[in-house]
């Protein structure tokens, strides 16, 4: 085999197996950094040796054994690395490492990736650490890429990762997938992290930040991995469906000059039909799987009703209202109440919706939420009360931080009185 050919083969193997190899090495060695170095050395060894020995029948097992052997050698030789894992039982790490055989199959390695996700999302770590570790260790993003996504310096993100890994070592956070009673609680933490990554990429609507689309793509990739590792889990399917159905609308969300285009004004021909098809299939599966109803699945069902409408006039608003009411019973929240009110306005009119929003405001939880004021503005405009509408939009503008949303609100204000808005 020519030199160029072996590089390409190893690259292909890397693409397919790097994540799984890392996850297993982390379990065997009990340390993220050690595992990462071991993986690096394993792939280097592959490039050096496969040219003459040929590509092994089970490349993944070969790489894991190679990585483990190099790490164990290093542990024996190097005091620094020994003290890194002095609190873990070194002997058991070596014993585990010895257990890697040719026959280990997908189910074992699949478990390692799941273990890794649960470890990165362990409740004893901070929310920031969850996202940083998951993106870095599970998705394989560079520290620089993760830093860029969250608008912090690479140094800051590197420190965050170092602290998180230190907490895992010092406090004895285990590399384990939790057992059934605890599992249901912890999976929701994992899903919240994945959804958090998605909304981070979805909320910034300037359209000029390439990294936002990448964040959504990573979240979807994580969702697909979880669906693969935890089949027939309605919450996982629901979340993946929700993300796909939202992401499908990305091409239509932002205009040429970076303005927000609301769902009702979007060019639906721009929506990604492949993602929609995948999302709709997942919603059906999630809703027909026995077990408690997942809020993600209900939100996905609402998104499904929106995308099924060829034209906005075809939107099944009464069904959407019903689904929001189901969602409110599962997961009461001011944001969902607001969305419910908007749906109600499409069925029962703006006056009824305004009542709902005013009741929400009276309960005092959301006065700082700009979208609440924006919604009030819309309803008041629809009711032919422009001066009050303008006040509401002004309140919204005072609270809105994202530039595209601010432009939209200013445009609304201008349209009411024909004069440019202040500020």
């Amino acid at each position: 085999m020519s030199v160029g050919a072996i590089d390409r083969v190893v690259e292909e193997v890397f693409r397919r197996e790097a994540g799984r190899v890392l996850a297993t090495l982390i379990r065997l060695l009990g340390d993220f950094d050690l595992a990462e170095e071991a993986r690096q050395e394993a792939f280097t060894a592959a490039i050096e040796q496969w040219e003459s020995t040929g590509v092994p029948a089970n490349p993944r097992a070969w790489l894991i054994r190679a990585g483990r052997n190099k790490a164990v050698d290093r542990i024996r030789r190097d005091v620094v690395f020994r003290t890194k894992i002095i609190d873990r039982e070194t002997a058991s790490a070596e014993a585990d490492a010895a257990a890697v055989s040719e026959d280990e199959d997908d189910s074992t390695f699949g478990d390692d990736r799941l273990r890794l996700i649960f470890t990165c999302c362990h409740p004893a770590l901070s929310a920031e650490a969850h996202v940083a570790l998951t993106l870095r260790e599970v998705c394989g993003l560079t520290t620089q890429a993760v830093a860029r996504a969250f608008l912090v310096s690479e140094e800051t993100m590197a420190q965050r990762l170092v602290r998180a890994k230190k907490k895992i070592r010092d406090a004895g956070i285990p590399y384990e997938t939790p057992e059934p009673p605890l599992f249901n609680q912890r999976i929701h933490g994992v899903l919240a992290v994945v959804y958090g990554v998605f909304t981070e990429g979805y909320a910034v609507t300037t359209g000029t930040r390439l990294v936002d689309a990448e964040l959504c793509a990573e979240a979807i990739r994580l969702g697909r991995l979880l669906d693969e590792l935890l089949p027939v889990n309605p919450a996982v399917m629901g979340l993946l469906a929700l993300m796909l159905l939202h992401d499908a609308r990305r091409p239509a969300r932002v205009s040429q000059n970076g303005d927000v285009i609301l769902l009702e004004d979007q060019d639906r021909t721009l929506w990604n039909q492949a993602k929609i098809a995948e999302g709709l299939a997942l919603v059906d599966r999630a809703l027909s799987t026995p077990g408690p109803l997942s809020p993600y699945a209900v939100q996905a069902a609402i998104a499904a009703l929106h995308v099924r409408a060829r034209k906005k006039e075809d939107t099944d608003w009464p069904q959407i209202v019903g689904l929001y009411e189901v969602l409110l019973r599962l997961q009461p929240s001011p944001v969902i109440e607001l969305n419910h009110a908007v749906a109600v306005s499409m069925v029962d009119g703006a006056a009824r919706a305004l009542d709902l929003v005013d009741s929400l405001t009276a309960r005092g939880q959301v006065s700082e939420y700009h979208l609440l004021h924006a919604a009030r503005g819309r309803f008041l405009q629809q009711l032919g009360r422009p001066l009050e509408a303008r006040e509401a939009y002004r309140s919204a503008l005072a609270l809105a931080t994202l530039e595209p949303e601010r432009r939209l609100l200013k445009a609304r204000i201008e349209s009411i009185d024909g004069l440019p808005a202040g500020d």
Binding site: T83, I86, D87, A124, A171, I173, E176, P178
Partner: protein, 117 residues
């Protein structure tokens, strides 16, 4: 791994409890302690007198300052501890969750820093 489980609660609220509520909590503690001894986790435990009996010592520039009270005024105060042996953090937090005081206060789970030989 060894952990210290530090039991914090609001002393004023605890003092305001009825005699029977207190007795019932003490019985729960006895049960709990027996359980972890049997399971092999127990290393040590003590109940502490309230912060009204505390004294704080600081030495600065060679001067020893002794003052009345805890090291700081906090919303919840340290009332006792368990030292336990646990496989990992999940086992330690599961034990902590069964401490009767966890229902009314906070249990801080702190890994013991082993002395390097």
């Amino acid at each position: 791994m060894q952990y210290l489980l530090l039991i914090y609660s609001n002393e004023a609220e605890m003092a305001a409890r009825t005699a029977s509520a207190l007795a019932s909590m003490m019985a729960e503690y006895t049960e709990f302690t027996k359980g972890i001894i049997q399971a092999g986790h127990f290393k040590a435990a003590d109940r502490l007198r309230p912060t009204s009996a505390a004294t704080t010592v600081r030495v600065r520039n060679g001067q020893v300052a002794v003052t009345d009270g805890p090291f700081a005024e906090t919303r919840e105060q340290l009332g006792g501890y368990y030292q336990v042996e646990a496989k990992n953090l999940d086992e330690a937090t599961a034990i902590a969750a069964r401490i009767p005081g966890a229902k009314v206060g906070s249990i801080e789970v702190r890994p013991i820093w082993p002395v390097q030989a």
